[in-house]
Subunit: 131 residues, 2 copies
DNA sequence: TATTGACTTGGAGTTAACTCCAAGGAGTAT
DNA sequence: ATACTCCTTGGAGTTAACTCCAAGTCAATA
């Protein structure tokens, strides 16, 4: 699979894919004789994983460390597991924040929708105090 | 309330608070005769709101626009409501991504925990294909 | 064989959101 | 009144994660 196809599949740019490979977010990708990237199934799995993790704010640095450990073989299984748990703690924290923000947005919007009907805010839109 | 107290309350830096005020993420804050910021209850509500929204990745620019609309009065109620809905769409998208990443992390960690016990990976840790 | 178009590299540039800094002012303890 | 601490400002600097660029290579087509 060419870099272009992978990019279309995941809606990212070639620059981002090359960047991921260059810094080690994914392992080195297969090449043709001419030196052109030819992504294998495995390569694509790594790409998919990187995109998923990055979409939840897992830092590039942590992904690099994970790949580095992976390439050292089975002796790093525990270290990799710990790294994943570390990532999970952060992702969960963020998830909670997003949920909290959704709650606030939903509350404000429901209040605003009432106000849109009447054209007047009878309550203080910003005066939302958490109990 | 002084800037320091607000910072301690929300665990942010004075620089960030001043930055928020400067660019308009929050309205201008009350001052003492000497020109020192003295945050009112309302000011603090705005700070709280800004921090909450920012923690879920709502862009500074959107918050600026919201405050700007707010200051124009009741004629902007519908516009503000639409802005909030726009924000909600994005926050929900991110929330879904975070949940998806959590699922992936949980799956990988559970597999790794099995492997940690035996010291060997009997399955391909990276070969996680979504159906 | 000449051109086309996609690919390659290393390195420089961009962006959002802070974060730091220097110079100076105000309020309080001694 | 002197020292000390915290505050003020405008503007410059930093950071992570891309994103762009120039120069060059390669395979396929006219």
């Amino acid at each position: 699979m060419t870099i272009k196809e992978v990019c279309e599949k995941y809606d990212i740019t070639p620059d981002t894919l090359r960047y991921y490979e260059r810094v080690g977010v994914i392992p080195e990708v297969n090449r043709t004789k001419g030196g052109i990237r030819d992504y294998s199934e495995q390569d694509i799995k790594w790409v998919e994983n990187a995109i998923c993790m990055r979409s939840a704010g897992v830092p590039v640095e942590m992904l690099i460390e994970y790949v580095s450990l992976f390439q050292k073989g089975n002796s790093t299984i525990e270290a990799r597991c710990n790294l994943l748990k570390e990532a999970r703690v952060e992702v969960q924290k963020q998830l909670d924040k997003y949920q909290n923000t959704m709650d606030r947005l939903n509350y404000k919007i429901s209040r605003y929708e009432e106000a849109v009907k009447t054209g007047v805010l009878t309550w203080d839109a910003e005066n939302i105090k958490k109990d």
